[in-house]
Subunit: 250 residues, 2 copies
């Protein structure tokens, strides 16, 4: 793959799963009926670790993740925290119709968001029902994911939880590169042990132990601390306590 084709792909790729299917980067693409939105859209970048918005803040924009990873989480007064969503490229952030943000959003890696000021976006939704329809589909998918995660949090063992997380990240990573997940695939795990613990309702020590245990039993291999290799995808999914069906490739 040479530079030109790479750049071409980059420049013309769609803005992730943004409900408005505009182009993310290239200004030279063929016009479409939604280009008016260019007037109200802008990009914001955040460094790894930076908060994007806090729970309770006024919601001034909605956005979609262009690159990088963010987390959606809640914290109790005594400091216990639970991650409630992992935002990968193509995920949507925000709630048309609400004024305040319900959860904390934090950039895990360097992060680029494609933002729309909220009011113009809502006006646009009214004029273009297709946006609402698409947003409804995305929201329904997220609701299914959240509910599937409730099974993980409520009923799975620590080992199953880790395997579930790895299986999900593997699937999403594959989907991001538009290839089916396969045996032997590898991916960079974007989360620290602590972030994994927050996601899974565990402590970081337990996460570390169970990751080691999965490595020892050959279900996963590690390159360094973060790159994970999945020699046998079905084995991983079995460890997660899932069967092969279910689990859409989201």
């Amino acid at each position: 793959m040479n530079d030109i084709s790479f750049n071409t792909r980059l420049n013309t790729r769609e803005c992730g799963g943004c409900p408005i299917r505009h182009r993310a980067v290239c200004a030279r693409c063929e016009p479409n009926e939604l280009e008016q939105l260019d007037a109200i859209k802008y990009y914001r970048t955040f460094e790894a670790g930076q908060p994007v918005i806090w729970s309770g803040d006024p919601m001034e924009f909605v956005s979609s993740v262009v690159s990088g990873i963010a987390t959606l989480s809640q914290t109790m007064e005594d400091g216990r925290t639970q991650m409630v969503g992992l935002l990968l490229p193509s995920d949507f952030i925000g709630r048309p119709g609400r004024d305040t943000t319900p959860f904390d959003v934090v950039a895990v890696t360097d992060l680029t968001l494609c933002c729309f000021r909220k009011k113009p976006f809502e006006d646009m939704m009214e004029r273009t029902p297709a946006i609402g329809t698409r947003l409804l589909q995305m929201t329904l998918d997220e609701l299914d994911s959240a509910r599937e995660w409730m099974l993980v949090l409520g009923r799975k063992t620590a080992r199953e939880k880790i395997a579930s997380l790895l299986a999900i990240v593997a699937r999403r990573d594959a989907a991001l590169h538009k290839v089916p997940p396969r045996d032997g695939m590898s991916f960079e795990l974007p989360l620290t042990r602590e972030a994994m613990a927050d996601y899974l309702g565990l402590t970081l020590e337990t996460v570390s132990r169970q990751v080691s245990a999965l490595k020892k039993s050959g279900v996963i291999k590690l390159e360094g601390k973060r790159r994970v290799i999945i020699p046998d995808l079905e084995a991983l999914i079995t460890e997660a306590g899932d069967d092969m069906d279910g689990a859409p490739i989201t």
Copy 2:
């Protein structure tokens, strides 16, 4: 309150939170632009304990709960079960745009659903964007609730989980009767200990013990096994580990 006024209220009340704000029972009400839906809507009743639909079944209708209570749940192959939603009157069941049902729906009490065949409902959604908008709002609310529940499942102790469940049912019960929740309120807990356990990711023994413990410390009172009295709402919410804000009255 005499019989006539009671019947009048009953006959003209809206069909819960159904995205289509038609009248639930009365055929004599003033016509509105959505009455065409009467042609595609019908009612179904289920006895307590009956399944409404199983995960994976083809989805032939969408519906809204008119009366009674249903649960939305998932089960693993080995039998571990996690409830992922509690469907009270006004809740919507179904997924426009999807063909199969993602979770099991079971009637907990006797249940009446107001159903719409799925295809005509989808057509209607296309012609009437307001329905989609309303459905989007409802779905976003459900997503928030699901995410709040993830904190309960992932990070709260057994005692806090029980208190959280009681607080939620108390709030929803109050909302259903259109009164604010208040100290001294009481409600019929519609769930068995086992169903509570499935909702909270606990065993029924632990539920029983913690309910007893909350009773012993005076946070709740019981009349029989099922009727719960909340002498001090704030105390209950404190036991749940929440602060007073958050928690919309849904």
